[in-house]
């Protein structure tokens, strides 16, 4: 198994970074017997600073803090993306492209819709129920056993239920373009 993710064959920066202070400290040894006694100590100081810098560089986190998925700050954007996903699913349904509608629903809307439902449920259990019922009708349309004849209409109802829930949460939701 390849655990060396990110390894490459480019120039060895680590060797260069580590080598620089070694060279300076080596020069300090070389000049220790010169007439000017200050030179080796200046070189030692420079070498020390370079060494600290080198190891600080080498100890850097190769995986700096990256996004850990949508957090609270990303919630509104995530919810807006869910509505967008529903709009795109409805457009696909209108074109009778059920596979595309399923992808848009599953990949862009399904998970955040559950989050919206849970959020609004803390304030209004009825609105949560309405949203989940509307969602289930769409899921039934998209299931292998579903006939999908009412998919377009059911997606419209789901968009309405989602918008209502977002209104209750004080989050503005854009309408699907006509």
């Amino acid at each position: 198994m390849n655990l060396a993710h990110g390894a490459d064959s480019g120039p060895n920066i680590e060797a260069l970074v580590l080598g620089a202070p070694l060279v300076v400290l080596g020069l300090a040894l070389f000049f220790q017997k010169t007439a000017n006694v200050v030179v080796p100590f200046v070189l030692i100081g420079a070498g020390a600073i370079l060494s600290i810098g080198a190891f600080t560089f080498l100890n850097r986190d190769p995986h700096p803090a990256v996004a850990q998925g949508p957090g609270p700050a990303g919630t509104e954007a995530t919810y807006a993306a869910a509505v967008e996903g529903l709009c795109l699913a409805q457009a696909a349904a209108a074109d009778r492209d059920v596979d595309q509608a399923r992808r848009m629903f599953q990949d862009r809307a399904h998970s955040p819709l559950h989050e919206i439902a849970a959020d609004v449920g803390a304030k209004d259990r009825g609105a949560e129920g309405d949203l989940l019922v509307a969602m289930q009708r769409v899921e039934a349309d998209l299931s292998p056993a579903g006939e999908g004849e009412t998919l377009d209409e059911d997606l419209g109802d789901l968009i309405q239920a989602t918008t209502t829930a977002l209104d209750e949460l004080g989050i503005p939701a854009a309408s699907c373009a006509l």
Binding site: H5, L25, I44, I52, N59, Q106, H114
Partner: protein, 320 residues
């Protein structure tokens, strides 16, 4: 010369050692998953509801990439480490290695993996049989060998000394679950999918109570779920799968769906569901139980289950 060389060596060593110590002094405590291996960081979400020490149990876990893509298909490596209890934490707990096999709820199970993709590409959990030898807190480190390189992640979970929910070998709760045509309950209490329109989509799963099945000395496959109001998001596919099994194995067992909610808005749970899955203030769903002719639980599956786990047991049952 020796003095100067010593100063030089010390300078270099001090620089090398600086900042190497973890802030908490614990090399394995708070470091980020995958740190030191050059791997990425998986989001690891244990999905088991009732892990019990002392006997082999089914451990299931969901995996996501930091970009929120689902890790699906194939197998993943797992290392379980005992962390101790709240009262007695352990630093060097024993480890158990395992292999998680993918259970596909969405997507073609034969797809080569593991791969990271969207929900419509594949969705499910990795399952392994693990014998946790002691109760307490455990960690799992999961490594998935993805096409772009291996990724790892860790999570912590609890293993109990005793089961909270009905376990294998225990007497099945003798529920008087709601049947089609029940006069004393709204139709949505029989199946939440009937809450609008009134049509129960799986009437064959609402034809007998668990009590009567046990009285008749007949086995039963019982699914407790709420396809509309599901928190786990797996109730719909699980219930559909049990319905499909009912069509194929109606001569081997009774098939029963118990809806969780009597009144979702009013937060009222059906007694038949509460018998099985409501403990204290905790409600977990979905669950599937196989009840034997003797009225005892022969097998159980929590949260996520696939046909290939259940079907072999149904095939072994004598005909009714």
């Amino acid at each position: 010369m020796k003095k100067l060389a010593a100063i030089l060596a010390l300078t270099f060593l001090l620089a090398a050692c600086g900042g190497d110590e973890p802030a908490d002094g614990n090399a394995t405590g708070n470091e980020s998953p995958g740190a030191g291996t050059g791997t990425g960081e998986l989001i690891v979400e244990p999905a088991s509801y009732d892990l019990v020490a002392g006997s082999p149990g089914r451990f299931i876990v969901g995996l996501l990439t930091p970009e929120q893509l689902f890790v699906s298909f194939g197998e993943v490596e797992e290392t379980f480490t005992f962390l101790g209890t709240e009262a007695e934490p352990v630093n060097d707990g024993a480890s158990i290695d395992g292999t998680g096999e993918f259970l596909a709820i969405e997507g073609d199970p034969s797809t080569k993996g593991p791969v990271a993709g969207t929900a419509s590409d594949g969705r499910g959990v990795y399952s392994s049989e693990v014998n946790f030898d002691q109760p307490g807190f455990w960690s799992v480190k999961v490594t998935a060998d993805l096409p772009d390189g291996a990724m790892s992640g860790e999570a912590t979970f609890e293993v109990r000394s005793e089961p909270v929910y009905p376990a294998v070998g225990a007497d099945a709760p003798l529920s008087k679950n709601l049947l089609v045509g029940a006069k004393d309950a709204p139709v949505g209490a029989i199946d939440s999918r009937a809450v609008e329109g009134g049509k129960i989509p799986d009437p064959e799963l609402h034809g007998i109570t668990v009590l009567d099945s046990v009285k008749n000395h007949q086995p039963a496959l019982v699914v407790i779920s709420t396809p509309v109001y599901c928190i786990s998001r797996f109730c719909g596919p699980i219930t559909d799968m049990v319905q499909a099994l009912a069509k194929d194995y109606s001569d081997r067992a009774n098939f029963i769906h118990i809806e969780v909610w009597r009144d979702f808005e009013g937060r009222a749970i059906n007694q038949g569901a509460a018998d099985w899955i409501y403990r204290g203030k905790d409600l977990t769903e979905p669950w599937i139980f196989l009840v034997g002719r003797d009225g005892k639980i022969a097998a159980r599956w929590d949260n996520v289950a696939v046909r290939s786990e259940i079907e072999p047991l149904l095939q072994k049952l004598p005909k009714l």
